[in-house]
Amino acid sequence: MPRISEDWLAVWIGLLVFALAAATMFGVDLLGWSITSKVWVEPAKALAPVARGSTVPALLSLAGTYLLMLALTCAGAKCLGAHLPRFAAAFTALFALSVLCSAIGHYAYIAATPDKFDRLGITWSLNLTGESGYIIALLLGLAIANLLPRLAEALREAVRPELYVKIAIVIMGAALGVKSAETFGLAQSVIWRGLCAVVEAYLIYWAVIYYVARRYFRFSREWAAPLASGISICGVSAAIATGAAIRARPIVAVMVSSLVVIFAVIELLLLPFLAQHFLYEEPMVAGAWMGLAVKTDGAAIPAGAITDALIRARAFAVSGVQYQEGWISMTTTTTKIFIDVFIGVWAFVLAIIWTSFIEPKPGVRVGAAEIWERFPKFVIGYVLTFALMLWWCLGDEARIGAAKPATEVANVYRQLFFLMTFLCIGLVSDFRKLREEGIGRLAAVYAVSLFGFIIWFGLLISWLFFAGVKPPLASG
């Protein structure tokens, strides 16, 4: 029996990593030895400690990082009631594969941007940036799940993509807080525009998808409502919250959720690259688009990070413009966090409509407490790290300089948790499901709605609210 929810666990682990990293701001370097991937030509230079000038050998740094993450996640797994030895063994394998994917993704001929060619002694590269490691992790996970199902089963105890991404989001709040302090006006604008875009998406997405599912695909109300929320709002959490709100059987949300992950994988492999090619002149539109179009936190927020890297690389290669890192990610995260926050409110509204008008049940009353019950608690951790760093840095500009090394250290763990998220998403995506009888109708409404409407309407809304808004330039 779990002693804590996954959301609260993510908050505590994320805050602990943040606190350890934040010690750097006060001259106490607790995590500078943590391992990070570097763009490399010689394999020996693929991994190194994050702190500049650190003399810790890479192997020791790797071992230390692994042991810290193992300790944190094992403590968490114990609270969640997992089988500890199985979890530790599976986590070790996932960690090793994640680091390997990150290292491959940082190979100079894959990752290097044109400004690094001279230093690395190369003349070309795919210009995919180090974030390509996420895609490699996703593909590896997919290959294991679909070709080596026994291995996927053996890793199952540690395959927890939602937990890993929520920890990463809490940690990421700190870096975004510092960034926002640097350009406070732009940060306010991103938050306001993100809120506007989400309000629009909720009201229009859900109604259209619900209508399509009911009218054209002839789903019953019990199926259509969770399906509409899963496709249009935020995948798994929205499908579950809506299912509970309208008193649908739990299996309905489970079936919808299994499709959400599969389609999120397809989006992950397509949308960041589409954005790189067509939206490199409108980076913030691309960021909001990832938040509105890619379903589930596990896929959307890392998709923002990939898009951030890809677009900056392309903008530099094509127009010589060097945008600051992180603003595209921030736009995706802001949009997605607002979507998460509103799930509880939307589920509450649906619960009232269902119990009062559609399927009235005598004696059943819906209380406002349901909003809090469905509130994604990890958002509290994100807001805390974001607000703390924003407040700290706004107090005195000189503090921004001290805060940056701290967020760089925290970023090591954010990236590792993102990598593990991608690997796990691949591991839980069983494409054979699409061929199963009966699922075809669910998959059809999902595919038609997502590729026929959600993606393009999300792009339109993102364009309307973010066109012309640019990230600050990296130099000057």
Binding site: V199, R215, I251
Partner: protein, 49 residues
């Protein structure tokens, strides 16, 4: 047990009887779209204005 339940659900999905849209569902859909359209104009006006 779970396999059996999934099997039943797949059968249910294949033979789901059509439930016509209730007037309240139409109102929910139209109301949501209308509110979305009105807010779109308002929010764009406040954001760009």
């Amino acid at each position: 047990m779970q396999k059996g339940s999934e099997r039943r659900i797949k059968d249910e999905l294949q033979r789901m009887p059509y439930e016509p849209l209730l007037p309240v569902e139409r109102k929910l859909i139209l109301g949501s779209l209308l509110l979305g359209a009105v807010l779109l104009v308002l929010l764009l006006w406040t954001t760009r204005g």
